[in-house]
Amino acid sequence: MKNLPHQNKDLADPPSRNPRPIRNPFEEFKVYSFVKTDIPLDRIVESTEVVMDEIRRGYEKLLEEEAKELVWMVQYNTIIKAYEVAERYVKEIRYSAEDIEDFCFALEDTQRIPYLIPGPAGLYISALSNYAQEAEIVLKLSELKTEINLLGFRLPKGKRLIIEGDTGDFTGIGVEGGELVVEGNAKNWTGAGMRSGKILVKKNIGLHTGEWMMGGEIHVEGRVRGLGNIVEGKVFERDKLVYPGKARYPSLYY
């Protein structure tokens, strides 16, 4: 209505040149004080997306550097090197424990992350967990279809990592004083090379458990399928000490 004089002039125009204005179907809402509502959830989703993009970029750079052909061999030096690369990127990101969990699920969404290579992925998640601000991190991974390897790598003292679901091979290797809880099963080489700390597996554990472990304790509430060559430390099966002990010998599979 701000151009009323013009409107009068318009009315004099032939109808074909100046058709009558269409009625505003939302007329009555003109009086409604419309403010573009800032829904808190939108803000949370937006900031989460920003963090997730950074985490995803770090993982992609790790793959670019360490798994150029999308093949990654588990060797002592490749693990160390890949972890160092992961550490470098992770240190630059501000994230929370929930973001780590979101990343784990994003790994299975090929539209968000094209390649899931369980080794580097596990090392990257380990680096994220080790550098997270929270002392206790819970990763609810029971819905994941893929078992991720190398989770809990070099878990430092003062950290507690709880994994709901099963884990893959090399779980908790090189643990450095932290506490790793797996609420499902763990596969082979669990706790290999750990120095101190505690690993608790609520269900069963695979072969080579505690291979070359130098200290710390592994507690298994289910069955231990096989122990590795253990240097020092303790392994418990259903509260019963199986290493050191006479009943069980290294590399004896049962």
């Binding site: 269409i22 505003n24 179907p25 939302f26 007329e27 009555e28 809402f29 003109k30 409604y32 004080s33 419309f34 403010v35 573009k36 509502t37």
Partner: protein
């Protein structure tokens, strides 16, 4: 609540009270803002006040026709005998001559063409008994009259400026026909005249001849004489009002209840018409209309098209129905919600009025998909199936509205601003109405 201005609401409530206490015994089955009413009487009264069209369904002998007769008699001040004489009964042999009018045989013998109009066409209160016994081809005969109040015979026409239509329908049996969709859609509301329960039914059997209460032989004779007379229809109307006023005074004097004069009805309608819908009522109604008309794939619902598998809007009512809401639906909702708000002396039409009215305006108009009918058929309920389904729909849409009313109103307000030329983006949301807003704005931008 607005202060009562002229006592009309009190007068209407007294009529309601009189009917429910002396003429039509039934249980209250609808609650609006803490007040309990019987839906059959309430909607019949609102129909009479709003010049509406009401379909009353129910089992035989449960007061479908008599409830309409009593309401018509008291709202329009017409003696019961006259109302009976004007009723059209639906049966297969019904003819246009019995419904609308016939040639004036005396004049025809003299070579002149003139029409003798039936009482049905001339009176403002119209009752069609057992409308679904009319064959489908004959239902079309009353379409135009029902819709616009235009009654044509030979080359003559009378136009009812004021009229309400009440039609009764039995449930399907051997003698009934399907009501054609255009006719069904013309009814503003559908109510069920229900069994009153064993105790009230016992009272019905015990009572005196309640028909006699609204009879008045002198007024009836005067009415018949006037209706039969050859004077022009428009000239008959003031005379009809005179006789009606006489009957009204008689009823007021003997029964203590005051029927409505023509000027009362006009005044009431004007007051109702002044009541505006508040923003929640408007947004809720739009939301409901969107769900009963929207189709993302085909542009709108059409009874000849079926939903696409995996459609994003599967959770909304557009996915559960076959047909599209007609333009008569919002009109009916607005009219009856206004009437209800007026009766309750509220300053504007709010969402509660709309929610109370919608099941009765929607029930007969929706064609549900077979799988929906099969899924809900055995649900425990008090209402007839179509009204039950409509109430269920209103409940679900109310829930959705509660969740997103602010955002929805924002989206409509943004739509208004964009429509007026502001550079804004339409708001996004997960409901068909947001898509409808965008469509309206696209149409504007083109």
């Amino acid at each position: 609540m607005e202060a009562e201005r002229n006592g009309y609401q009190k007068q209407i409530k007294a009529i309601y009270q009189f009917i429910s206490e002396h003429l039509y015994f039934n249980r209250p089955d609808i609650e609006v803002k803490g007040e309990h009413y019987n839906s059959t009487i309430l909607f019949s009264i609102l129909t009479g006040l709003k010049k509406g069209k009401e379909l009353i369904i129910g089992e035989p002998g449960l007061g479908k026709t008599t409830s309409a007769e009593f309401v018509c008699s008291l709202i329009y001040q017409i003696p019961l005998g006259v109302i009976w004489s004007s009723e059209v009964s639906g049966h297969p042999e019904q003819t246009e001559e019995k419904i609308v009018g016939r040639p004036d045989l005396g004049k025809l013998n003299r070579g002149e063409e003139d029409v003798v109009w039936t009482n049905f066409t001339q009176l403002p209160a119209k009752i069609v008994d057992e409308i679904n016994r009319l064959p489908e081809t004959k239902q079309s005969m009353i379409l135009d009259g029902v819709d616009r109040g235009n009654w044509e015979y030979l080359n003559e026409m009378i136009v009812n400026e004021e009229y309400s239509l009440f039609a009764t329908a039995n449930y399907q049996d051997g003698g009934t026909n399907t009501m054609i969709a255009p006719l069904v859609d013309r009814f503003d509301v559908m109510v069920e005249s229900r069994y009153p329960g064993a105790n009230l039914a016992f009272m019905v059997g015990k009572g005196e001849r309640k028909d006699q209460l609204l009879r008045h032989p002198k007024s009836e004779r005067d009415f018949f004489r006037l209706l039969k007379s050859k004077i022009h229809y428009e000239k008959k109307l003031p005379k009809m009002d005179e006789i009606s006023n006489g009957f009204g005074e008689y009823v007021h004097g003997t029964l203590g209840v005051k029927p409505l004069r023509r000027e009362d009805r006009d005044q009431i309608r004007a007051e109702m018409g002044d009541l505006l819908m508040d923003l929640d009522a408007s947004a809720f109604t739009r939301m409901l209309l969107a769900e009963f008309s929207f189709c993302e794939r085909y542009g709108q619902k059409r009874s000849v098209e079926t939903c696409e598998e995996g459609c994003h809007y599967t959770g909304y009512f557009c996915h559960e129905i076959k047909n599209c809401a007609s333009n008569r639906l919002p009109f009916s909702i607005r009219q009856y919600a206004q009437a209800l708000a007026w009766l309750l002396q509220d300053p504007e039409v709010d969402i509660e009025h709309v929610k109370s009215v919608v099941p009765y305006a929607l029930g007969h108009r929706v064609q549900w998909k077979e799988e929906v009918l099969a899924r809900k058929e055995r649900s425990k309920r008090d209402d007839p199936f179509p009204i039950f389904l409509a109430k269920d729909a209103v409940r679900a849409i109310s829930q959705r509205y509660r969740e997103q009313s602010d955002h929805l109103k924002d989206a409509l307000a943004a739509g208004s601003r964009i429509f007026q030329g502001e550079e804004l983006e339409p708001l996004e949301g997960d409901h068909p109405l947001y898509q409808e807003i965008k469509k309206d704005l696209e149409g504007r931008r083109r």
